[in-house]
């Protein structure tokens, strides 16, 4: 996804409920390029009402939520990203 849209898309993987050490180790092992967010107080999950994993949310370039879904529907996520970019300069 990042390769396709480059700097027009920012992907943040927000960890829920794991410690920083574990996440760091796992991230290194996997070699994921995107930034990972660790939130010891769960503040981001709370703000986004995350009850169930996996949850994915796309925020458009205008700061408006364009997609919110429980589960992982890659095609729908890609579509939402594409559509949110379509209206942006």
């Amino acid at each position: 996804m990042q390769a396709k849209w480059g700097s027009r898309v920012a992907i943040y993987c927000v960890n829920v409920n794991d410690g920083a050490d574990l996440v760091r180790k796992w991230w290194k092992e996997q070699g994921f390029p995107m930034p990972v967010v660790v939130q010891p107080q769960g503040q981001v999950s709370r703000a986004f009402g995350v009850h169930t994993l996996a949850t994915n949310c796309v925020v458009g370039p205008d700061g408006v939520v364009r997609y919110y879904s429980v589960g992982y529907d890659e095609a729908a996520i890609l579509r939402a990203v594409e559509q949110s970019l379509a209206g942006a300069p």
Partner: protein, 257 residues
Amino acid sequence: MNALCLALLALQETDAAARYDSALARWKQAAAVDARYDYRMELPAEDGGPGDLLEGFVQVHLARPLNGFVSMLRNGARIEYVADGAMIHAVNHERRTYVELGERLSDIPYALDLLPLRAALGLPLAQPVSVEWLPADAARPAAAGLRLILRQGHQDLWLDRDDALVAAAIAYDSYAAAVVRLQFLRWHTHSEVEIQDYAARPPEDYCRESLFGGSAGAAPGVGTRAPAVVLPVLDGEPQPLSGLAGKAVLLNFWSYH
């Protein structure tokens, strides 16, 4: 072949209960913290004819029992996985049949039908859950939306018309005190939504902490402004979401467990 696959195979054998126990034990012992099982199986038809084909995957997170996941849908059927080996079953709403791949009440604190569960465990029913239909979203005109009003907050589901639709969700409230399962009939052939809701107290050790850092708020609606949060990036500078204006931002909430 992963551990879950072994468990499923074992279940097909005759001595289902014993096989299930041993398969579950093997499954739990395996390091399948985050396993994926791709399946392709045939559901038996009531009339003895060829059954529906069921394809999809089950994603398993064993270490954290409350990480449930609902699998994919095809041909009006689904496999639903409830964490910690609670139950795996396949449902065909069109034919109103289902196959239970494993159950044992003492091992299954939730995810059973309401009545036997309540009778066996003497648990009260959860707060009633209400459901609102959401208007079709411009981005998903071929979908119907449901907003599930949970005890805390809500959760929206979008049901795709072309999924031969059965959709399901397992939603947990933020205190892990209730599990709500909703089953939907094919929405384009039935105007009514069939709902089963039930609740159970998870085992004590599941209740020690909230999975999601305390009381979770409501999900931001599509079309509303995203909450103003700062993303505490691991080994990096905190990133205010507002600082990403001009980009599409994908937030993927995940857990190692």
